[in-house]
């Protein structure tokens, strides 16, 4: 652990809503930690000149197209590529027979064929790929591959997966966690039950998958792609190519949006195979439809809950059954299930908990990592239960939540003690005091924005307002014994610092943070962050906020080592330790002011390098009864949603979202606000519109008209009411990653508000209009 993080401090930071509030950046430093440093690539991205993978070009490149299964479940009787291979302009056709190495891959469990050989298990599964000299030729040739199928009955209901014929040699049950904590015979005075369904959210990256594979003269291949986990992707691809990992290089290009795993190896491996086969560069740019068919989605989940409480509303016991639809392949389902089971009770003190969780295989589209996985689905359910309990007991829903709020030192149902800051009650309290937005009747008629949009069908007389609260939690970093490690190198020369770290900038702002860390430690203003490729040491996947913590920690250590190298000779000369010297604004001064020199002078034309690693304390897998210290750290958030519902049409407009979040320490105020706003908006999508629909395993409307993302008219005013800065002593800088927890909590808050407005149960996300209609009270 870093030395400066060893002292915990507790401060709070409050922002009031603009425009009345003071400029939040007033009095903040221009660089270093705590500054609102803008991203270095902001201008290029805004102007549209920032290059993404789809913009790559190489002399003489070929275009790839992938043939995908039109059936969710079928036996492949034959694949005939003769017609396709004979088309003019076609340079190569590859199927499962042409894979030199392993035929299967998987980021966590190796269970997924690169190309289906005997069975297709989901709509859109890859069967073959073509390289041709024109994208249309490639697409036509892929369509000309004759595949004979024996169509099989798809298993699309996860409840039926248990008894169904195995869809895969590994069986249909991917993981079962029976969490047992406390006394099963305890019964509460009050019991509420509920059944909740969560839909299939798609990460819907705004840039679809794309990549360029370039063969190397040594028989290896380079993959230029927007990977968020380049080293794992390299290892998987190399195993399939039958090459040593060193002969495959993944070069990370601009990432056009990533809220889940990006650039599934299912896109990269065919690309690399075709480049190796043809000896030419090969480019693949997925269509929007292919993107929806190919990548992993959020787990559709079915949850059954029974909450026991005493007459004062204190939770006594929680019983739950959680069923995750993993789709055809395991991917990260095991990890999602662990999060769902461990956080099934939410940020509340629960003395007895019995949670059964299953992740099962079906012929539905594959599920995998999407921000807030597992935790988001259970949050919608346990918060629904808290609302139900409040209604049954006649207690104010906020008061009920405060009576049960978790805090540091409490124990989770996994028997893990919460050692990090857990200011849950304080978060909720901050929201309770925040003023509510004006009612439509109190603002000028021209400023009304009713459900249904401007000039829409909304009618003021049918609109009801609802206010709902939710609390949510997520874990940070990989769980259950995952080796979380990152390596970073810092170099300084001529007063300019460079960071080399294979942590991918996905838009989350990591490179900005890296620059701030080095500015803070070395006192130099100009810091460059090198582009990422797999020749650098691994930094792990860009998920679970791990780069803020692990890669940020590694960069800080490396920067501190450079600092020591820089100051050692001076300290020696003046007979003082390096700790007594300060670097700020390019100047080195001693504590007593006797020494004053510039960094440039001290460098004396030298070039200084240092490399360091950060590896947080280890975790352990959940045991056979769901017990264990599985998580490195936890983050909490409280959200208050205010909605307007047209109770005749069932249309919902979110008017305002107020957020209070546990952030540890604010490293970049404007970036932090952006992360929270983005997370809340993604949560609103999950609550109201985002559901990738299927019919008998076939994806319906795989386009951005059918899959409705929130637009600027759907995104409400988002007020960050309070950011609690209670430093997490084990985290570098004491900061908690901030992106995931608003995604987890917002859908539950919106559901709670719609419940308040309509009096309907609202037990399904996204909320369908027919679930939000109500009879007007006389």
């Amino acid at each position: 652990m870093t030395s400066d993080a060893a002292t915990a401090t507790s401060t709070t930071h409050t922002t009031t809503p603009p425009p009345e509030g003071p400029d939040p950046d007033q009095g903040l430093p221009a660089h270093g930690l705590g500054a609102s440093l803008p991203p270095a690539d902001a201008r290029a991205k805004t102007e549209g000149t920032f290059p993404y993978a789809a913009d790559l070009w190489a002399e003489g490149l070929l275009w790839a197209a992938v043939l995908r299964s039109p059936h969710p479940h079928a036996r492949i009787l034959s694949i005939d590529t003769t017609a396709a291979a004979g088309m003019p302009g076609v340079r190569a056709v590859v199927t499962h027979e042409d894979i030199p190495g392993d035929g299967s891959y998987g980021r966590r469990v190796v269970d997924r064929p690169v190309f289906a050989s005997e069975l297709v298990r989901h709509h859109g599964e890859a069967i073959a790929a073509v390289a041709a000299d024109h994208p249309d030729t490639a697409r036509l040739a892929a369509a000309a591959i004759a595949v004979e199928y024996e169509v099989l009955e798809p298993v699309t209901d996860p409840e039926k997966a248990f008894a169904a014929e195995p869809l895969h040699p590994d069986g249909n049950l991917i993981r079962h966690i029976p969490l047992r904590y406390g006394d099963p015979d305890t019964v509460g005075e009050v019991i509420v039950e509920g059944l909740y369904r969560i839909g299939r959210q798609d990460p819907a990256p705004i840039g679809a998958e794309a990549g360029l594979a370039v063969p190397r003269p040594d028989g290896g291949v380079e993959l230029y792609t927007a990977s968020t986990d380049p080293h794992t992707d390299r290892d998987l691809a190399a195993a399939c190519f039958g090459l040593a990992p060193e002969r495959v290089k993944v070069v990370v290009t601009g990432v056009p949006g990533a809220t889940g795993d990006r650039e599934d190896p299912g896109f990269q491996i065919p690309l690399g195979l075709l480049a190796l086969r043809t000896g030419c560069p090969v480019k693949l740019a997925a269509t929007r439809e292919e993107s929806f068919l190919g990548h992993a989605h959020r787990h559709p989940t079915l949850l059954r809950y029974r909450h026991h409480a005493d007459a004062e509303g204190r939770l006594v016991k929680v019983e739950a059954q959680i069923l995750l639809d993993a789709g055809a392949y395991a991917d990260s389902s095991s990890e999602s299930l662990a999060a769902a089971v461990a956080f099934a009770c939410g940020p509340y003190v629960v003395p007895h908990a019995f949670i059964e969780g299953w992740a099962v295989r079906t012929n539905n589209p594959p599920s995998g990592h999407v921000r807030g996985e597992g935790a988001m689905q259970v949050c919608a359910a346990y918060e629904g239960q808290m609302d139900k309990l409040a209604a049954k007991l006649g207690i104010d829903p906020v008061e009920l939540r405060l009576r049960n709020a978790l805090s540091t030192g409490d124990i989770l149902p996994t028997s893990q003690t919460v050692t990090c800051p857990a200011p849950v009650a304080e978060l909720l309290g901050a929201l309770r005091g925040f003023p509510l937005p004006a009612l439509p009747k109190d603002v000028p008629e021209d400023d009304w924005l009713l459900p249904g949009g401007p000039e829409g069908a909304g009618e003021p007389g049918a609109v009801r307002r609802g206010v709902g609260y939710a609390l949510g939690m997520v874990h940070m970093l990989g769980a259950e014994g995952a080796d979380e490690v990152s390596t970073a190198t810092v170099r300084i020369h001529d007063g300019v610092a460079t960071v080399i770290c294979a942590a991918v900038e996905t838009g989350q702002g990591f490179t900005t943070l890296a620059r701030q860390i080095v500015q803070e430690t070395l006192g130099v203003e100009e810091v460059h962050v090198a582009a990422v490729d797999t020749d650098q040491p691994p930094a792990g996947p860009a998920t679970h906020g791990r780069h803020t913590w692990v890669s940020g920690g590694a960069i800080e250590r490396a920067a501190k080592m450079v600092r020591t190298q820089l100051l050692q000779p001076l300290a020696h000369k003046f007979g003082m330790s390096t700790e007594l010297l300060q670097i700020a604004d390019g100047k080195i001064t001693s504590y007593d002011g006797v020494l004053s020199t510039t960094v440039m002078e001290a460098m004396d034309g030298k070039e200084l390098w240092a490399t360091a690693q950060c590896r947080p304390h280890p975790t352990e897998p959940l045991d056979e009864s769901g017990q264990g210290d599985a998580f490195v750290g936890l983050a909490f958030c409280a959200v208050r949603a205010v909605v307007d519902v047209d109770i005749e049409l069932g249309s919902v407009r979110v008017v305002e979202m107020a957020v209070a979040q546990d952030v540890g320490r604010i490293l970049n105020p404007s970036q932090l606000a952006t992360r929270i706003e983005a997370g809340v908006t993604q949560g609103i999508g999950a609550a109201l519109t985002e559901n990738l629909r299927t019919a008998r395993g076939l994806i319906r409307h795989p386009d951005l008209t059918g899959y409705a993302l929130p637009t600027s008219l759907d995104a409400p005013d988002i007020h960050i009411v309070k950011l609690i800065e209670e430093r997490d002593v084990v985290a570098p800088f004491g900061a908690k990653p901030a992106s995931a927890v608003p995604v987890v909590t917002s859908p539950a808050a919106v559901a709670s508000a719609v419940r308040a407005a309509t009096g309907r149960p609202v037990n399904r996300l996204p909320i369908r209009p027919q679930a939000a209609v109500a009879t007007p009270k006389a």
């Binding site: 249904g452 829409g456 059918g706 409705a708 929130p710």
Partner: protein, 290 residues
């Protein structure tokens, strides 16, 4: 793509299509090009209609407006157009995001004939006629509903030139229900047009069937209740009954089985759609009469 021609007049465009029967006409391209990009359509040639200035405006002809098929949604949404045909302007403003409205055209909306096409219920309620241009400068007229219902088709080398819409000088309303506050496809839409000269109310419901539906009996019934020479207003009960009437006509109950038993109930989703149509029709008529 073999060729792209850009004729400057309607007759030139028709001639170009006649000379190259496999070519496809394209105006805004908002539907056509997405089908091309998806690989669903590979036209061997395109006849671009974007330079035909006679199609991009409108003129007047004995109590009617003759609207060019190349009028964009953005143009139809402007206040001068809204003063002429308010419901068509409202549907144009509701049709997708600004990028689509700037490119998409009235003629394209008719030719694509998507069930969710926002202009279509308005044109059905207005009983609009299409002026179809054919070879050698010929013109013929067909009701828009005949084309949408497939009763009459466009012949090869024919183009929708103009849409003849009556100028009714009376309130018109278009309302649509969507899944989000931002632009989206209609789950149901209703157009109401008042025709005081003929003492008629015309209503069309969009997006719930392959083509707009006209509840003719409901129209006649409600028109008979309106005091056309007086205040025109209706009691809330009458408005609500009209909404129910329209919804039941467009989304009927299931037929009872042949053995004479109970008719199977409508699914909750269909019932919700029926409630939505009823609320839209009630609100639309209420706004038209207020």
């Amino acid at each position: 793509m073999q060729s792209v021609t850009l004729p400057a007049s309607l007759d030139e465009a028709v001639a170009a299509l006649g000379a190259m029967p496999a070519a496809v006409p394209v105006a805004g391209g908002t539907d056509l090009m997405s089908a091309v990009n998806k690989g669903l359509l590979r036209p061997s040639g395109l006849v671009g209609l974007g330079r035909i200035s006679e199609l991009r405006g409108w003129h007047y002809q004995d109590g009617h407006a003759l609207l060019g098929a190349g009028l964009t949604h953005a143009r139809m949404g402007r206040p001068d157009f809204a003063a002429l045909i308010p419901a068509l302007a409202a549907s144009a403003r509701a049709a997708g995001p600004p990028q689509i409205r700037n490119a998409g055209t009235l003629g394209g909306n008719i030719a694509t004939a998507a069930p969710t096409g926002d202009a279509l219920p308005v044109l059905a309620a207005l009983e609009a006629e299409l002026v179809i241009a054919g070879t050698g400068g010929s013109r013929r007229e067909i009701p828009v509903s005949h084309l949408l219902a497939g009763r009459e088709m466009l012949e090869p080398a024919e183009l929708i030139g103009f849409v003849r819409v009556p100028l009714l000088h009376a309130p018109q309303v278009f309302l649509k229900a969507t899944g989000r506050t931002g632009p989206g496809r209609a789950t149901a839409s209703v157009a109401i047009v008042l025709d005081p000269a003929r003492r008629g109310v015309r209503c069309a419901v969009g997006a719930i069937a392959p083509m707009p539906l006209r509840p003719l009996e409901a129209e006649r019934w409600i028109a008979s209740l309106i005091d056309w020479d007086g205040e025109r207003g209706l009691a809330p009960d009458a408005l609500a009954a009209f909404g129910e009437y329209v919804a039941a006509a467009c989304i009927p109950d299931q037929a009872p089985p042949d053995d004479g038993g109970e008719a199977p109930p409508l699914s909750p989703a269909v019932l919700h759609l029926r409630r939505t149509v009823a609320a839209l029709a009630r609100r639309a008529l209420g706004r038209a009469l207020s």
